[in-house]
Amino acid sequence: MISTAIKLVFAALLLASVGGAAAETPRDPAQLELEPLNFVMPQAVERRLDNGIRVLVFENHELPLVTLSARMAMGRYFVPVEQVTAVELLSRLWDEGGAGDYGPARLDSLVEAMGMTLRAWAGDQVGGVVAYMAREDLDRGAELWRELLLRPVFDPDRLQRAKARKIKDLQSINDDPKGLAETWFWRLLAGPESVEGRVADRTEIEAGTREDLLALHRRFVVPQNTVVGVAGDITPEQAVALLGSLLGDWTGPDPFTAPQVRAPRRQARPGVFVLPGDFKQCHIRIGRNLPGLTDRSPDFAAVKIADFGVGFLRVYYRTRLDGLSYGTGSRLLADRFQGTCMALGSTRPEKVVALLDAVMEEVAGVGKRPLTEEEVETARTFQLGAFIQQLETDRDVIDLRLKEITLGLPDGYYQGLFSRQQQVNADEVASVTRRWCGFGDNPVVLVVGTPEGGAEALAELGLGPVQILETEDFGK
């Protein structure tokens, strides 16, 4: 069956042999007359099981594959800061620690024997259990998915292994200048006690227990907090029947209190910081928190256009053209709580000041030199492609809708955002860049490495005294 399916995919393949005289063709895309794009957003079918669980189905029979995906509102933003490490351990162990009556080794061998993928995780705001499998394995694969969703084991030996691996990850931070810059930047911008900025210590990791993980699972993985997506070689009727048999008798607490997300509180430590290190390149980060900007703000569509326009079309190209960097850019970001204006990149030690100058000039300068209509059009094309690409596979279609639901976004949010982005004009973009782009008077500026000229050279930026950070032995 699999071999036949593979051959069917290639059945439409054509070979075009090229040769001979060619017609005179345009040499600049501006000379082309292009048709408008006709795009209709694919929609998942929505159903409910008898016990109230929402089910989304997107049918596609091109390949004999099926995806089952459960999503829950859960993660690091839903727990007090002292439980964040437990959430991280849960995420690491969930799909490796056994399920139901299957110990971890047995679960591994069943999953691998089918060549299926079975993953479970908890992130910042969303957790999930997802299975990708061949249609011929659906019955057995779906049963494993259900067991992992409802009855994870969190095997104690595997928990010890997960702890050791997490500690190893921490120990590796100092080897990777990019990871080091990322870790320290969020510590400085959000604060060392924030969810975004904290780094777990070894004692905390070693103290995590199986009971902690089971308690987190019990709290968040309940039918009232779960939505399920099914995609691929399956009809909505078949999907509902399958899920009915798997989850129909799943009941949750009564009464049910929905988990409440906690708005993360950032406490920035503005200033210019250097974390010395013996690297060939220095990594830079610049940032400012933007309270008041969220992904639900009315101008968020224009923010997305500005993000690409400034970060890529201006900062990236300027620093490439100047030969300063392989990959430096800026971002204008927002989630449900707040926004961030930041820049990130790397360069050789003798060019650090030049790179920082170039980045700040481009990001702050966009207020005086707004993105042109042409740049806005380019950014719109990028966002158009990005949106359509997010829906390329059947699995993508349900993922986007599951994301919308679990993040608490209004129905049709993404389609609305997409439509608004396509209508944003240069004036609107100029308005958001004036308001949100730039690093203000008190940014966080971080250099990891040893910039030429040291602190004195950085002091010339005029952003205040330079503070030297001390390397920490993470995970020791």
Binding site: I2, S3, I6, K7, V9, F10, L13, L14, L15, A16, V18, A22, A23, T25, R27, P29, L32, L34, L37, F39, P42, L63, P64, L65, E96, A105, D108, E112, M114, G115, T117, Y132, R161, R165, I167, S172, N174, F279, K280, Q281, L313, Y317, G323, L324, Y326, S346, T347, R348, E374, E377, T378, T381, F382, G385, A386, I388, Q389, E392, T393, G475
Partner: protein, 465 residues
């Protein structure tokens, strides 16, 4: 190759050229990769304000570039006064040329019509990829054909700075990348697989615009390239456009391949690289080319060793003994034109040593011979590889890359799936025999990545032999 798929209204294109790091001239490591960067610099039409005037300055720059490269070759490790003066002149000429062009015009033009365009160079091929809304099909034809037919290598020296930044970022500041560079330099003594794709810094400094022109004339010819288009398009229209845009590229001569063969190793080769704070073990054995009849066995053997958590190396090193994590084995180290490496890498946990990990790896390799894999396990693996392949067909970009890779490196895109027929013929005894002949100490190249030495410390094993 045209593969219409009418899902979302997007198309993914891949122009793959049969030229990679193995084709670089002696002493010019990194040239194929530098060329790929320079293929984004525009044409005589896209990116120039006054091409005749710009071309004259670029010719002078190319001439000066040769002199600079000669001075740099002669200077050794420190910058000579002559090369410093020549570099100033080169930079000034580039400024003059830039006044006559529109820097970054090619990518900025492409940006207006695409979601994503990029390129990559590896040991064996260079590929130019793009994903764009389906209504911009003709833009893809135009941009990709123009840069093959009429490239202009402007902004050469600023781009050379960028490539050197890339080397610092992706290789020199990455302990594992440096250890891999050492491994290749030890595992291969003759074949150009011993060189890094990004190039050595000393070679990068001596690349010139004229080298690019010669490289273009030699390798960027139709018989050495494959184009693949996958996605939402009308195949008849696509054929017409392909004929119009690509049909007039001169055929050119077939480029030479790599004539050098790697001699069989006769003794174990070892090296140690000290950087950072982590330990990693890298072991290589002689690998298999695309036509090697043992490739199916080798692929399955790699799976037996490290495909997943029930594989033998993962069981011993990770789950049973806690010595390591991220254990990986590959028979082909990618889709390659020549026999390369059978590679095993092991990320060693804190509190354990590379020596300890290596000892266990040798024991597991011996166990593959002593305790043959079962037919049931082999069957599982064969099925799993087929399913992996099925999953890889979902995205147009991946599919375009897959078709191009197999056509260019193996000579036939159908090999992407007919290789599984070869897997069906493999028996447990085949696996045992291959393991017995391959995993011999005198065929091994072993590199330890070790933590950086404290100042003044002695290197115990002599480091790089």
């Amino acid at each position: 190759m045209l593969l219409p798929r009418h899902g979302v209204p997007m198309i993914s294109g891949n122009i793959m050229v049969k030229v990679g790091n193995v084709d670089n001239p002696e002493g010019s490591t990194g040239l194929a990769h530098m060329f790929e960067h320079m293929a984004f610099k525009g044409t005589d039409v896209i990116g120039s304000r006054d091409y005749p005037a710009e071309a004259a300055v670029l010719d002078s720059l190319a001439e000066m570039g040769e002199r600079l490269a000669a001075a740099r070759r002669a200077e050794g490790d420190s910058v000579s006064a002559e090369s410093a003066a020549l570099e100033e002149e080169v930079r000034a000429l580039e400024q003059r040329a830039n006044a006559l062009n529109e820097p970054m015009a090619f990518p900025q033009t492409y940006d207006r019509y695409t979601f994503d365009f990029n390129a990559y160079t590896d040991t064996d091929v260079t590929a130019y990829t793009a994903t764009l809304p389906a209504n911009n099909l003709e833009v893809w034809m135009l941009m990709e054909s123009e840069r093959i037919k009429h490239p202009v290598f402007r902004e050469f020296y600023s781009e050379l700075d960028v490539v050197q930044e890339e080397r610092r970022s992706r290789t020199e500041d990455d302990p594992e990348a440096m250890a891999r560079e050492l491994l290749k330099s030890l595992a291969f003594t003759k074949h150009p697989y011993r060189f890094p794709v990004i190039g050595y810094m000393k070679d990068l400094r001596t690349l010139t615009p004229r080298m690019l022109r010669r490289f273009h004339a030699r390798y960027y010819v139709p018989g050495n390239m494959v184009g693949v288009l996958v996605g939402d398009f009308d195949p008849d229209r696509a054929r017409t456009l392909i004929e119009a845009y690509f049909g007039n590229i001169p055929a050119g001569a077939k480029p030479p391949g790599v004539a050098v063969s790697e001699p069989a190793p006769t003794a174990i080769r070892r090296g140690t690289h000290h950087q950072g704070g982590e330990r990693r073990l890298l072991m290589a054995f002689p690998g298999f080319g695309p036509d090697d009849p043992l490739l199916p066995e080798a692929s399955l053997l790699a799976g037996v060793l490290a495909r997943d958590r029930t594989s033998r190396l993962q069981q011993r090193l990770d789950l049973q003994e806690g010595v390591a994590r991220s254990i990986w084995a590959s028979a082909n180290d990618g889709c390659q034109r020549y026999p390369s490496m059978f590679l095993i890498t092991v990320d060693v946990m804190d509190g354990h040593t590379n020596q300890e990990a290596e000892k266990i790896v040798w024991e597991v390799l011996a166990d593959v011979v002593a305790e043959p894999v079962t037919v049931a396990k082999l069957d599982e693996m064969r099925a799993a590889y087929r399913k992996d392949f099925l999953f890889s067909l979902q995205k147009n970009k991946d599919l375009a890359d897959l078709l191009a890779s197999f056509q260019v490196t193996g000579g036939d895109w159908r090999r992407s799936y007919t290789r599984f027929d070869g897997y069906d013929q493999v028996t447990p005894q085949d696996i045992t025999e291959l393991a017995a002949s391959l995993f011999q100490p005198d065929k091994a190249t072993i590199v330890y990545l070790e933590p950086e030495l404290e100042a003044g410390a002695e290197v115990e094993d002599g480091g790089r032999p």
